[in-house]
Symmetry: D2
Subunit: 344 residues, 4 copies
């Protein structure tokens, strides 16, 4: 039985508690929050779970094997590091930490301590995203041409992070899981419409070694909610719409065919583009709640010493892009090279 | 009676002929095309309209008062210039010409000859776009925050122009008409997925003097068709979806409210963002075909010596961005300053 | 403080407990269910709420002021009657009881005991349905022409009731609230696709005194989910789509205009139909959970001796139609007169 | 070369002329209309096509092999009969004639004269409907459970026919083609909202020998356009939405599974309903214009003496239902038996 301590019972913490509570092989032994009313809420819902307003007390609690952290981004590093140093396994809400350097230090600390470090890239554990990865991996899509996502709505303006760190982090984690290659540079643009606040609208383009491109579009100030990703490939193309009730993933047998041929009159090679259109298939998806799958995966990794799917390296790849994109955005889109690739 | 000669009876020419044919105060006196089968088609449809395979003959025809040009982009400048020099009024399919310099020379030639020069920014004449301009102009939207458009589908790969010149030109012309200000710089990214061909996917960000931003998203290689524009404002927000059957424009009484207030404990000013949500209104739109409105407008300008809504200056503002965006795209998003603004 | 006892903790009971639990002025004092595991679930979620496997014990409990019943339809009458006889106020899940006669006896019992009898017509308490009623009442819609609803999906086949009693009951309760008049006859058709089971697809037409008609379309065996109601009126028309995320109610300024005029040549009156098309408005709706509004309303009625909006008479009007429709369905659509109208 | 004469150049006639004009093996030799301005329009569009204001002259013209009739319903019989008697092949807009008796006499006349009689059930020739038939015929759908269509919008109120004859005729012709069985009785309800006019809203239920049911829902007075058909089967279910741009037909691998089993305690057989959910497939459809396919089919039948897919018998099966439904509607849904089945 893996005993989980959860730090932070604000927006996301209740989901962590609920899911770890119901994960076979795990139990929630303790929850901490700085606000007494949040702790009272824990007690009314889970009378058997211990509570404390001291994060350190929870971290040092010998009845806690693993710590799940659901606090503001700026506190991730400090809490995770202390937990790893206390010999705990650690599960951290996305993004893993506030800087590349912090993430690197957490990876080192986890490795040194021989403990599991996992970042909560929730979407990776949805049936929809797992299906997309499967379609890319088994060759159904062919060569990837582009990854293009839009995530906009009238959303809460965050105080400590900009819209890239709040929303694009989801798309970057999905892309990191689905795409077989990692980007080499980023160009980002964006703006804040509120004086003194962080950017609330942003656009990222990611460049790759080959003929791939990715684009992310995020906005806290849109009148309608859009959660749509297109993946273009040489054989098929995917539309992933997270707002669809049932058919979230649609696979289109559509695209172009390239016929290289000699144009004799011009004595040169010319490419003829042909167009292909076929069936559309919306595959049946596993409807299990992502966080339930993810909680079980974490418990499995802790129990059997496995490497999580969304490990420190995954967290690092995502934070590298977040950091570079924020820098590019300050320079109105000037492309920023990404650090040498972390192998997937 | 304004006698129109139409050069080019390929994809768009038939629409020009049909609309000018039915415009009161105008007639189509002649059509030219280099392909005999296209001319035969003209004759079968309009037995009374003269045809010729010589563009020059049409341009010099004394029975032609105005020339409408619907040929490939690279030929616009030469044909339009010759027509203006022959004393004809000129109507040119978008974009007005292939370079900023060419457009500038056409503007000068039209001015020198005292002839009307109009560019076919068709969408400007739709009921939907006219309504959007009205909503911006009468203050309903408040201060504009952003203009964000997506125009993607599985479309014909053009040989001579990239996807920006083919698709984004529509959005730039709409934006030029709707927005009260003009951009000062552009950052663009994009890629060609076909060796030796022009870019088939592209993303443009436009910067303005103030706190506005615009983003355009175009793609010839998408599995689904999207034609959607969001306009965010301080009072209301617009969603314009050109694929909707009837409610193409939706106005959302949604947004944020800013309350600047003193946080005494911190001795500093802090901004509080509030959220507002109200009714959505889809105004009734004039369903008249845009090209019919536009053809009548051209005939009116020619008849009464008026300046067209989409004149040479409008064409110039759009081509300036197309040119700068193509340059930025080659440099992976490095921002390019736009030439000094042409007054609207 | 009104102390509520809830009978039945299956599909709907948990929603009742949760909402009454959080309703100011009320508390849930006891829950009964015949299944021990359901009671265990109650205890784990609400440690302070008493549980019992005896419905009678709960009914007779002096610490219970009002009984909420969420059990199979066939048991409603017996339980509600016993509760009223024990001096309790009663809240019953829809439909109020299994026959017109039973409903009539419950109404009489409540009146005799001076207790509140309320039926859980949940949709009546949604922001969307309240807005529809408002639009009808204030004359915005004009004269009602028709009420037309579709409620289909791949749903649970009920064992004891047919699809009319399970699904159409929702639409009948909405219609009863929204429409200013009550039907005088019903023609219903339907079929069971499973030998020995109740009808899983059904269609009802309701006739009124005047020039109104209503139609209900219900199906447990549809591949897609549809929850759409059209209300046609002489001035405006409503589309209510319960699956829309935000714009559930749309009001169309569309319709026909009737111009009665003399056709001189024919020496008779002829009607000319004109068509009118205007704006569409999606009014902002109160997003409060319906059951929360409804629970507060029940507590208010009990506390202050008020008549509920969805009282026994509303329950009776709905069950009269359910009963007659089931009879008509057996006779392949033969119209059945409805009993003399219960005044609204 | 089959020489076609077209009677009636109003709403539908131009489509017939255009398609027969472009059908290989056919030409349009003559068009008649009672209105001079319509004939002038024909001449301006097709200078080589002869025109006449005399229907009889066209019918008797020896340069006409086949007559296509696109006139009001009440005139179909007379014109078609005269054309058959004059030895012409006949193509008639839907519905074939205004009464069952008239249709029967046309069938007899065609048979007696050895001429082709074809009714213009246009939808039967769309890629979408042909795909549906294919899916039913090859067993993909399994046993058919129901056919359920909705065809509503703000449409032109017809003067001579009610909404069943105008709109439901489309769905009946599609159903006649797609369903493997024919109905035995109909119950219909409906209403006119305009005094003295025909019914503008109607609902039809069709009963079959077996466990099938069909329902049609038509309305000229709806604020939104809906063109949707559901076909439920034991193996798969179809949604056909004619307003979709590309995926008009969707095939859902969803449904119920029936497990008959002995309930030992009750000593009886009980059915357990299970639910099945799988992929959804939108098959690629032939995009050819239906009327083009249909015109070629008529020409082929005339040229080679074949029986058309939509022959007199198909027209008869549809008119039988239209007539019975109108009768049932007068009696508020009382079921009307359909005449002995015409073999398909």
């Amino acid at each position: 039985m893996i005993r989980i301590g959860v730090i932070g019972y604000g927006y996301w913490g209740p989901n962590l508690v609920r899911n770890f509570y119901e994960t076979p092989g795990a139990c929630v032994s303790r929850v901490s929050d700085l606000r007494p009313d949040r702790l009272k809420l824990v007690t009314s819902r889970y009378p058997t779970v211990g509570v404390t307003d001291s994060q350190q007390e929870l971290i040092e609690d010998p009845a806690v094997d693993a710590v799940a952290i659901a606090t503001p981004v700026r506190t991730h590093f400090e809490l995770a590091l202390r937990a790893l140093q206390a010999g705990k396994h650690v599960f951290v809400e996305k993004p893993l930490a506030a800087t590349v350097e912090q993430v690197q230090r957490l990876i080192d600390a986890a490795q040194g301590a021989g403990r599991v470090l996992m970042v909560d890239h929730t979407f990776v554990y949805t049936g929809a995203v797992r299906k997309m990865r499967e379609l890319v991996e088994d060759g159904s899509i062919g060569d990837i041409y582009y990854y293009d996502s839009t995530r906009v709505n009238l959303g809460l303006f965050q105080h400590d992070v900009n819209v890239i760190w709040d929303l694009a982090v989801h798309d970057l984690s999905i892309m990191d899981y689905v795409m077989p290659c990692t980007p080499v540079a980023v160009s980002a643009t964006g703006l804040s419409h509120v004086a003194g606040a962080t950017e609330n609208v942003a656009f990222l383009t990611l460049f790759f070694e080959g003929r791939q491109i990715a684009h992310l579009h995020v906005n806290w100030l849109a009148p309608v909610k859009v959660r749509r990703t297109l993946v273009g490939g040489s054989r098929k193309m995917i539309v992933y719409d997270d707002l669809e009730h049932s058919e979230k993933v649609k696979v289109y047998d559509k695209g172009i065919t390239l016929n290289r041929q000699t144009d004799r009159s011009e004595k040169m090679y010319e490419v003829l583009v042909g167009y292909r259109t076929g069936d559309m298939l919306a595959p049946n998806l596993d409807p299990t709640e992502a966080l339930r799958v993810e909680a079980a995966h974490f418990v499995d990794c802790v129990s059997h010493g496995k490497q999580p799917l969304t490990d420190g390296a995954a967290g690092l790849r995502v934070v590298q892009i977040l950091e570079a994109a924020t820098e590019s955005m300050k320079q109105r889109g000037r492309p920023i090279e990404l650090p040498s690739v972390v192998l997937k």
